[in-house]
Each structure stands twice: as C-alpha cells, then as structure tokens.
Subunit: 263 residues, 2 copies
C-alpha cells in the first residue's frame, strides 16, 4: 500500500525592510533558524531572496537551494506547481520582497491554496513596515485599517483623502496607506491640502533602517513646517479628531480588553 | 546658560505572545539589546514586565530598574508624569502585556504625548498576533481592517457580524477581530451562524506558541466540522467572496506595487 505522503509545512518568513539591515540582527533567532534549514523557497524576487539567504548560516551550499518566483506577474494557474513539492512532503519558505510575506503582496494566494489542501501554515515573527508605523503613530490601535494605495489621478486622489478623513471621523479608525517612493511627495501634498487642520497625520519613512524618519503632527502644524520627503519606502497614517460620541465605546473596549491580552 | 536638556528616546518594545516563549528566541537581537540597557520602563503590567526583563542579560540588577504602570485604569492626567523622565533626558521602554505596545492597548496615548513634545519614538521589531494572523490567513493583505471587539449582547453581535461581511463584500477588505479568551466559543458560533456559507473564516489561536492552531476555511466547511475553541488568545478573520467588480482595481494595485517594496 502506497499512502499519500503527509504534506510539508509552509513557513512565512519575514525579511529585513532594507538592504542596510542585517537579518541576523533584525530577525528573531527562531525565524533565522527555520529559514536556514529550508531547501525550497517561493520568493517574490529570486535575486533579493538569494541575497537574504547569503546572510544566513545555511546547512548546504546556496546553489543547492531551490528558489522559485511568485510575483504579481505569476498567473493563478501556476500556483499548484509551486505548491506541489509541499504536497509531496517538502517544507517551504515564502519570502516577500521586504517585510512580511502575504501582507500586501502576491503570496496570499499561495497561502489560501495551502489552506485549501490542508497544508500547515506557520507565520514567523519579523519586521512589518505597516505594523511599526502603527505602533509609532500614537494613533488609536483599537481599530485601524490599511487601505494600500491612493488613486494616481490628482482629483481622484484628493477626493479619496477627503473620504478617508470622513471615514476616520465616523469610525474612529486610524487609516494607514503606502505609496511607491517616487510618489511620496505628491501624496504628502495631497494629504496636506485635503485633510482638515485638526486631523493628525503621520509620515514614517525607512522604518527600522538607519535613515528612519517618524513624525506625527496635526495637519495645521505640518502646513507650517512642511518637509521634502525622500524617495524611500514610506507609510502614511491619519486619524480624524476624536468625536465625543465614540468615547463610551472606547471606555467599554478598554474595560473588556483587561482580560484579552494580545495585540 | 542652563539650556533645556535634549529629551531621551521612547522605545516601543514588543514582548512574547505567551509565557511559554523565550524572548531571546522570539525577539530580534537588536530589540533584546536595546531592552537590556534601559533603566526606565512604562509597562501595562509591572509584574509581567519584570518577568520579561528577567529573561534578558540586563546591565544592572533588576531592582535598580524603574517600572511604572500605564494601564486602562491610568487617568490621562497622569501621562505627563510618566513622560517627565524622558523629557529630562532619560531613554524609556514602553511594554505591552503581550505583543506590540501601542497597538490595541493604552500605550498609544503616551506615544501621542511623546510626539507632541518632540520626543523621538522608535518602534522595535517583534511579535504581533494581529499581523501573524493576517499573514497566515491567506486572505487579501492589500486592504484590511482590525475592528477590535464585537458587541457582547448576542443580537447586537449577530448584527455586527452581518455588517462586517457586507463591509468586506463592498470593500474587499479582510476583517480581523479579537475577543477575550473565555468568549471565543460564543464569537465563533455567532460567526458560523451570521456569515454566508461562501465567506472565508480564519481562527488563529496561540500564535507563535507551542499550541498554535490556524485554520482558514469557507464557513460552509466550518459548519460541517466545527471545533471547540480553547480559552486562549485568538484572532478571528473573515473575507467575503471576491466581487468581480473589484478585479480591475486589484490588477492596477498589483502593477503599481512593483515599485513599492514594503509590507
């Protein structure tokens, strides 16, 4: 009787947020240890993944490690082939271009397919620009939303910014967004012109890297001392002024989370 | 001339998600190194913070390290006193009960006050149950929202679940929520009865710990093989079936993020 093999595990492996960061310093030893013993990786970019792996103390020559790409250009029809070695019993690591895989990247589709086939999925601890930005914002972490990218067309972008402030005012949410680095300044200027003066705005650039810059201020204060943003990865955050009506709900949440203990 | 001293820095220090986890294994060496040399901490719970610090190789006896509490019971009027040593030039570490400080905990108010006084804020890398759950969900990370706790009253909770599915169907968002552990089963049963069969539902318990449990499935499949949830920290996630109308936007995002490179 030849039974079906047990599937391997899919490890979700975060990587540093920039090439200036040493993975052995900015990743937990447990994450490094698992990444160092895997022989099959699915990476958003094979070149970047190889550069990451070269920093680790691998248990075999890097030439013997298989790296296949899963990028935004990978057709959905190719996902089963990427999963096949795992179904045959091999462990695999999923690696994003920077930060946590399967968050705002093409890896989520592979994770979904893994769940469909009952492949155990193991997320590992490491850096996330979105989460570091949220921590550093000083804005409410009781409820927050990541909305990705804003529209490119200026009028649509301005309208989107106004809609996001209205949403934050209604829900109390902190709103986080990212942009391609060369468009940082355009987004920043749209935020300054579209948001009301009392809205709080965060700019968080190069998080966890030597040139990290984090500033949260009221929009009115930003307007008095605007900055020129570098073309580096940046997370923007905003929260509308607190609405008196939301206070009782906040208090209730605060009381209830006394027994919750995780974030 | 006696000038004002430069303020110290406020370090945001993540801690393990459970007592079973060794901080030296699940935190990056950079995070551990900074936590080990600070002499002033602001912690959600002083006892838990002391237990965490005892795992580290501190540069002085723990009795000489000051730990003050900032919990959900701390009045806002006491925040300036917590910040005062930092304004006088001392570095400080902010520590949550578990996971990342200032995300769904009372620390965000202190971070906001730090920004107001131009105190440099430095978020450090470490575990977040919310982020690990999002990675592991296989659901869209292109846009997601954390909504905290659902209402306690059964009818209101059922209505909230239906509203969240409608929101996910409209926006394409992945929705994440948490609950106090003893209410896990009640939330789970409300999700199974309130969501439509095609909705995908994730249960992620004890993340990064030995008894970790992660399962994502369609609600119809969950109904066929329901589970009894342990009373341990759990993140729930849901996403409504993809709406054809959102596809072009997803494609545009995929193309644009080719130059983005962070998550």
């Amino acid at each position: 009787m030849s039974g079906t093999p047990s599937p391997g595990r899919l490890w979700l492996i975060p990587t540093p947020l920039g090439e200036a960061a040493d993975p052995r310093r900015c990743l937990p030893p447990d994450t490094v240890a698992i990444a160092s013993r895997l022989h099959y990786f699915i990476a958003e970019n094979a070149r970047t993944a190889r550069a990451f792996l070269k920093h680790l103390d691998l248990d075999r020559p890097i030439q013997q490690i298989e790296i296949r790409e899963l990028s935004e250009h990978t057709p959905a029809a190719e996902l089963p082939a990427l999963l096949a070695p795992i179904l045959a019993g091999q462990d695999a690591g999923l690696i994003s271009e920077a930060g946590c895989p399967a968050v705002a990247d093409p890896g989520a589709a592979l994770v979904a397919l893994a769940h469909h086939h009952r492949v155990p999925v193991h997320p590992l601890i490491g850096p996330s620009a979105i989460l570091l930005a949220l921590m550093a914002s000083g804005m409410s972490g009781q409820s927050f939303a990541f909305v990705g990218y804003l529209p490119q067309q200026p009028e649509a972008r301005l309208q989107a910014v106004r809609t996001l402030e209205q949403r934050s005012a209604r829900s109390g949410e902190t709103i986080l967004m990212i942009e391609t680095p060369y468009r940082n300044q355009a987004i920043f200027e749209t935020l300054l012109s579209g948001l009301s003066g009392d809205c709080r705005l965060m700019v968080a650039s190069s998080l966890s890297l030597p040139d990290q810059l984090i500033r949260t201020d009221r929009v009115a204060a930003w307007r008095n001392s605007p900055v020129q943003l570098a073309r580096v990865p940046t997370v923007f955050g905003l929260i509308a002024p607190a609405q008196p009506a939301t206070a009782p709900k906040d208090r209730e949440r605060a009381q209830r989370r006394a027994a919750g203990r995780q974030r």
